[in-house]
């Protein structure tokens, strides 16, 4: 196809544009948001064990009060977040990695360590990372207090928590 010679065809020439400032072009982008899920640790002994994960977040979005934070959360905390978002926000919340009921069958009936197997924990970690990135990047979810409590409060105080919206600071 012949190249378009727009200079000779004034009627299809580009519309005039505003120049972009050097700051705008080379500054870090305004949409920086990175959430990683790392360092799974299993706490406790015997059948009172549970696994939690570090959630490390870095962002420059003004809606998040803290720009760099790290908290530890377990699977049930993710389930809580999902329930809150399903109820209060208008988004269709993505699903979590599975609950793995089969793996929670008593230890003597299983050949392996159930939900505390390294392989399973790694799979779950990946699924949780996908989940939280999808959710945290959603403009409507960013207005939900539950998301901010989940990502930025050191521990989730289930007694004191009240659902609500977050406005941009």
């Amino acid at each position: 196809m012949a190249t378009i010679d727009a200079d000779n065809r004034r009627e299809i020439a580009r519309l005039p544009t505003r120049p972009i400032s050097l700051e705008d072009r080379y500054d870090p982008p305004a949409n920086f948001l990175e959430i990683e899920i790392l360092n799974p640790e299993t706490h406790g002994f015997g059948n009172k064990r549970y696994t939690d994960y570090e959630i490390r977040m870095k962002t420059n979005l003004p809606v998040f009060r803290i720009k760099e934070c790290s908290v530890r959360r377990r699977y049930s905390d993710f389930e809580w977040l999902r329930r809150e978002l399903e109820r209060d926000s208008k988004i269709v919340v993505p699903s979590l990695p599975s609950k793995a009921w089969k793996r929670q069958v008593p230890a003597f009936l299983r050949r392996d360590d159930g939900i505390f197997e390294d392989e399973f924990i790694e799979e779950r970690r990946k699924g949780l990372e996908q989940f939280i990135n999808k959710v945290a990047g959603h403009p409507l979810a960013q207005n939900e207090r539950s998301l901010h409590v989940f990502l930025q409060d050191t521990t989730i105080d289930y007694d004191k928590y009240v659902p609500g919206k977050v406005r941009n600071s």
């Binding site: 009627e11 299809i12 580009r14 500054d27 948001l33 988004i91 999808k134 990047g137």
Partner: protein, 351 residues
């Protein structure tokens, strides 16, 4: 196209353009079939000759031979209701007998053809000649469609469309299209300017959507069709960036905008600007544009069917001044921020 019954003794053909002066177009009749039809404009005569051919050594007794010029709207959704808005009749022959092939001239003078022919998803607006050989038990009916095109002049006013839209605190853009009314071989020239980008955009595309709506009141039936989709940006923009748009309409199957034809149907066109983020969430803004049909500059009256070309022909000097004379480009800068809606079911943005 004539209806030829199996074992029928009669066949008829319409000769509409003996001197080869009339333009033809390729018309899509349905999903698979296309046919060539002569183009007529409003006010033109519809004249020609009907040739009736008989099978060898057969005779046909009839109660009259009637020729009609019909304009009708067919609505496929409403149990194929047919609404006739034009019907001109001529009696070509009194009751009698056909013993040999015969040619009959006809001339419908200054025929009003107020709407453009339209073959849509749910609506068909067609004009055709219908020859009926009336018989005692079953008539012989032959039809020939013609294609009516409605030409318009350059609009006196043709403002550009310029608007700021977005989702508060997340995404603000200003989009601009150089006109609000485009002819079918026009070029959409525009730009998208990013004012605020707090989401991770993966790419942006623009689409032309045709909305055909029929019926009134509680029974409105709408069909949407994406005529074209075109990626205009690949990658993540930052605040202050401008992305150009240049979309040639001649390559697409478009019709003029039709509003409330005989209060039966409308065909409207929209530009749909869509931004897609890294999680496949879609943010879109639809904007209506008006399409109109310009007279072809091509004065060549050969029998070739008109083809739509994708590249834009350089207009000559006379036409250049015509285009300059079209309306001022006042910008319509609405101060209110409109919400960009998401069309993905997984997002429930309010509009």
């Amino acid at each position: 196209m004539d209806i030829l019954g199996l074992g029928s003794k009669v066949d008829a053909d319409f000769i509409l353009d003996p001197k080869g002066q009339r333009k033809q177009v390729d018309v899509k009749i349905d999903e698979t079939k296309r046919s060539s039809q002569y183009v007529y404009y409003n006010g033109e005569d519809v004249a020609g000759t009907v040739q009736i051919k008989l099978k060898k050594n057969s005779k046909v007794e009839h109660q009259g031979i009637r020729l009609e010029f019909v304009g009708q709207i067919e609505m496929l959704s409403d149990r194929s209701t047919i609404h006739e808005f034009t019907n001109l009749t001529k009696l070509l022959a009194f009751p009698g007998e056909l013993t040999e092939n015969v040619s009959m001239d006809f001339d419908f003078l200054n025929v009003e053809k107020p709407y453009e022919s339209y073959m849509g998803i749910n609506i068909k607006l067609r004009y055709f000649l219908r020859l009926t050989i009336i018989k005692r038990f079953s008539n012989n009916v032959f039809e020939r469609d013609i294609c009516v095109q409605q030409l318009s002049q350059y609009p006196e006013i043709n403002n550009s469309i310029k608007m700021e839209v977005g989702i508060e605190d997340c995404l603000h853009i200003e989009f601009e299209y150089n006109k609000s009314k485009y002819h079918l071989k026009d070029v959409i020239v525009g730009k998208i300017y990013f004012l605020l980008v707090r989401i991770k955009i993966k790419h942006m595309e623009i689409a032309i959507i045709k909305k055909e709506s029929s019926g009134t009141g509680p029974n409105i039936y709408a069909e949407n069709e994406t005529i074209a989709k075109y990626e205009i940006m690949d990658g993540a923009p930052v605040r202050g960036e401008s992305i150009p748009i240049r979309l040639f309409l001649a390559g697409y199957d478009l019709t003029p905008t039709m509003k409330d034809i005989q209060r039966k149907f409308s065909v409207r066109y929209f530009l749909n600007l869509v931004l897609i983020d890294e999680e496949e969430r879609r943010y879109f803004k639809q904007q209506e544009i008006t399409l109109w049909r310009k007279q072809d500059k091509d004065k060549d009256k050969t029998k070739q069917s008109t083809k739509q070309y994708a590249h834009f022909e350089r207009p000559n000097a006379a036409n250049q001044s015509e285009e300059n004379g079209s309306g001022t480009n006042a910008t319509d800068n609405s101060p209110a921020t409109e919400v960009v809606s998401s069309e993905n079911k997984s997002d429930a943005f309010s509009d």
